[in-house]
Every structure is written in C-alpha cells, then in structure tokens.
C-alpha cells in the first residue's frame, strides 16, 4: 500500500497553487512567511500537468489581502490564489501587477542611492504593449521584468 503524505485540507485560509518550483521560496520571502505565526504548509517540486513542476503554499486562518497577493504578480503571474472558508473556495483571486512595487525589487544600478543608503526601493510599472518594464523612482533607470532581482 502506498504511503502518501496527507496535506490536510484547509478549513479557512489561503492557498497559493501553481507556483513555478524555482519561485517557491521567493514567494515565501515576499509574503514574509518566515515571521507569520499561522499554520503554514509548503510543498515544492510537485508534478504539475500545467507547468511541469510546481510548488504550493497553504496559510491557515488568514486571507491574504489583494495588495499582498498582487506582489506575487511580478514573479509568478500564473499562480492561482484561492481563498478558503469552511472548506469551500469562496474566492479565486486573479493576480494583477500593481502600478508601483515597493521594497521587493532591488535596483540593478550599482550607483543608485537605494544601494548605498537606507532607502526603500520603489519601482513604477511601465506597461509598453506586451512588455513590462520597471522604472526606479530614484535613479530613473529601467529594467525588464526578466532582469528583476528580488531583494
């Protein structure tokens, strides 16, 4: 008989599914789950028909706010957020890239003030046709979504 690890279904909380495996720990970082006191379940490198290999995060008894989940739009825009109440999915939340990204991304310009002084990074999201670029509020340099480095 196969032994399976049973991941308990959430009664109430948030499930983030279909996280690309190489992004799982960035998700943990961005959501500051290291200091979250709720029961958290992390799984990674699970087989996924959709994306090959995926990770997932379950946070019990906490419904993440939209401005929190939207931070994930930068690194895993196709992840699925489900808000659970009484074992039911009450909300399937789409991810929208916000117009401004605060603190998560590091400026790629070594001469930017944010890399030398205690200044929170701020990037304006520039949507240029299909491409997304991030413009540093301070040094005004732009980077493409692919070049983004999470702090």
């Amino acid at each position: 008989m196969e032994k399976k690890l049973k991941v308990a279904a959430l009664r109430d909380g948030t499930v983030i599914d279909h996280i690309p495996s190489d992004k799982l720990f960035k998700v943990v970082q961005i959501l500051h789950l290291d200091t979250c006191l709720n029961q958290i379940t992390l799984a990674n490198n699970l087989e996924s028909k959709k994306i090959g290999s995926k990770g997932l995060v379950k946070i019990a008894e906490r419904a993440l706010a939209e401005n929190e989940t939207n931070k994930l739009a930068l690194i895993c825009p196709d992840a699925k957020i489900n808000i659970i109440r009484d074992f039911e999915v009450i909300e399937k939340r789409p991810l929208f890239l916000p117009d401004e990204i605060v603190e998560i991304v590091q400026c790629a310009n070594p001469k930017c003030i944010t890399n030398h002084q205690p200044v929170q990074t701020r990037f304006d999201v520039i949507r240029d046709e299909e491409k997304v670029r991030l413009k540093c509020r301070y040094c005004e340099r732009e980077i493409s979504r692919e070049e983004v480095k999470i702090k």
């Binding site: 001469k111 930017c112 003030i113 030398h116 002084q117 205690p118 301070y138 040094c139």
Partner: protein, 301 residues
Amino acid sequence: MNNSLVSITDYSKEEILSILDSARDFELNPDRKTLDGRVIATLFFEPSTRTRLSFETAVMRLGGSIIGFSDAATSSSSKGETLNDTIHMVSSYADVIVMRHPLEGAARFAAEISPVPVINAGDGANQHPSQTLLDLYSIFKTQGTLENLNICLVGDLKYGRTVHSLIMAMSHFNPTFKFIAPEELKMPEEYKIFCKKHNISFSESTELTDNFNDADILYMTRVQRERFQDLMEYERVKNVYTLKNDMLYNTRKNLKILHPLPRVTEIDPDVDANEKAYYFQQAKNGLYVRQAIVSKVLGVQ
C-alpha cells in the same frame, strides 16, 4: 511635491517657458533684494565648482545668504551620517536645498523627505535640470524661439547626461535632431524610441565634417577616452569629433555652438573668436536661469 526640481521632466512645457521668461527678466536686472533674509543651502557631496559658484552667485545677487559644503569629505557624511539625517538637519536651517551628489536618485530621495524644496544640481549620471534649462534659454535667446529647430548633437551621446536631458526638454517644441557620434558612443536605443514615440524626426551619422550645414544649434560634448572599451577605436576617432573653425564656413548664419563645459579638445580654440561660438555666454546664462529657478521654487515674485 513641495516645488522641488529634481528632473527636467518635473516641469511641464508651460513651467519651462515661465522659467525662460523669468530668466530673461533676471538678465535685464540680476541684482535685486528679493531673496533678502532667505538662506539657501548648497550641499555639494561631490565638488563641482562651476555649478556651485553659479548657484551661489545667483542667490547672492538676489540678496540671499548661502550655507553649505563643497565636498563630502568636509561634511557629516564622512562621519557616517545618512543622507536622510543630513537633509533633515539642513532643512531646519535653510529655506531651499541645492544638492549635488555622486549617486543617482539622491536628489529624488532628498526631495521626498525634505520639508523644504530641493533643487538637483546633478545626481550621478542621471539629471542636471538647471543645465538643461540654461541650454534651453541659450537656444531661445539665440534663435528667438524653441520651435521647429534643427539641432545637431555631437560627441558622447551614449553617456552624455546633458544630451539626454536636452532631448527630453526639447520634445515639447517639435525639433529635428541629428546625432553625430562614434559607433561606440552612439545615441542609446531608448532615446531613439523616445523620439519615435513623440514624432520627433532624427538622423544619425558618424561624421562631423560638413554634416551640420543646416543646423540651427550645434551641441558639442566631449568624447572621453575612459568611455571606450576599445582604446584603439578611441585613438582612431578622437579627432573626428573636434570642431575647427574651417568647418563653419557653410553653416547657417544663425548657427550657435553650445557646449556644457569644461571644454577640452573637442572645440579648437580657433573657434572661440567666431561669432557662432556661444559656449561662454551659455555658461553666463546659467546665472539668470538659476535665479529664475530659485525664485520659482521659493515662490518669490
């Protein structure tokens, strides 16, 4: 945000024109007492004698007083004080902060946290809006208008901060640009995209000689050896972008030659006596433009 001037893009077309108007007025009458009792701080975290003296003279001729420092080594930042703390401290003494800093974004940060307006006197390779405004004033004075001009930009178009800002500022006025630079230092793609987006026509060349006879403005910048990956290429091109007097024979009567200075080898001294040489007057215009900027920022007259 509190009247600060960090980037030339902080000003609308109307605001740019109002500064130029005001500068014209100050040129007629630079010595006044309109800033009497005001204290302006010049915080130069890296030295720039020309810009600092220009701002300081601008303020003093209007009756204002100056405090500040001209080198980070003599400031509290050499003790490890953060920029945030320095700005807060100075803002409790001065009515305006004029700041030059080697790091990009420093002025934007200062403007965000400062209770008094901040004027960016240069942040790394990023912005230097008072230079751009004095360039515009010089163009306006000599051509009688900013509209529909043929502007030729020469030299280091890749790293040239003044050149990039000038393109952004002139975009309000329907210019036609010609970019003349060595291959290694040609105008970056993002500015060409900017021009296309704003329906600004431009052409590019690597040749200077005989290539600007239809220009109204010739804006020269220095081609620096340090900017070249390939030093043999530098040696090959270093004289190609030097302006000599005999290159000016077939140029327009109204042509003016601008240069943000300091000039090294890129404009031959034999050009200085030519009436088309305007670079020294250009620097002098900086005084009036800076008077206009400081006055506007303080909401004075």
